[in-house]
Amino acid sequence: MLCIGCRTCMIGCVVAHEGKHIFEVDPDGYDFHPKLKVIKTFNVSVPVQCKHCEAPACMAACKSDAIHIVNGTVIIRTEKCIGCKSCAEACPFGAIQMVTLGSARNADGAPRSVANKCDLCQDQPKGPACLRVCPTAALRLVKEEDLGQTLKNKRLATLGLALGAEAQKQAAIGA
């Protein structure tokens, strides 16, 4: 709920994936394809991006062997993508977008369009760019061990609540 909808994460994503050359090429000559998208509804402003599912529907739908899990991250190998859109259709979160690449063309010279989604900045030594650039620190990387700790904390809190309630009940009976 910290997100203020500023979309700096989207810019950060593009800069991280395009590299420094975006400041050197023709202003229209690079690919502006953020791999996450800030969504604003009545109740919420938040970037939506890939959840790196354990059983990815996109991977199951891919007929061209372009989607793989590498170290727990779901990665699209765009060079293998035939642009059939099955993964985009399969993703329940809308985390995959079809994009047209300016940087690559098909053998017949036609523009090349591929599926595009978050890869957790796997090539970035400092981790996901969206996290780093967010001015309100609204994003965080959920790791498996964090998930375990969060659950443990929640359960401890639940136990605490139950103890409190029990004490009140006893006090009521005593009174």
């Binding site: 709920m1 604003k40 938040v46 642009g83 859109k85 090349r112 369009s113």
Partner: protein, 194 residues
Amino acid sequence: MPSEFGLFVSTDIAKCSGCKACEMACFQSHNIKRNNVGKTVGTISVPVTPKLYVTVIETASMPVQCKHCENSPCKAVCQQKAISRVGSQIIVDEAKCIGCKDCLMACPFGAIALLPFYVGGRQAPQADSSGGKVAASKCDLCYEDPEGPACVRVCPNEALRLTDVNEERKKKNIAAAEALAVINAGDPGRRALS
């Protein structure tokens, strides 16, 4: 707004009964002019050649049809230039097809079949006049029909829909965002702000 990327018809497998109404409608829509097919079965005098293929197994069924790939393998392999992109869609020009079957082999979905090609109620001659012509047949989204794909219109179970993935993405994104609001509300560290 016209779609930048190829639209395609997708199936809700839970709804598809495998009835082939889509195949019949597809055949009709493409043969009204070419083979004088009317509204009743009695007006059919040529073999039924659909552009989508209902596939049934013991537990499920669906019409397999072209996804109108952006980097289409079928188009890439066609030496005759019989497969091209019209707007955002991949279209086969049957007149140019010589039946080499490369596109059938290249398509990972099995969405293309080699079927007899009839014009005016008769099978057209093969290019070398050696016999009846066969040609690659695959979904063209009824691009010449202002009402759009016939299969979608006739499905008795509303199992088919014309899909624009980037449009659908908008809706899915909104649902995902709303879900994140609930997830954050359940997170003690962030609850103060929800």
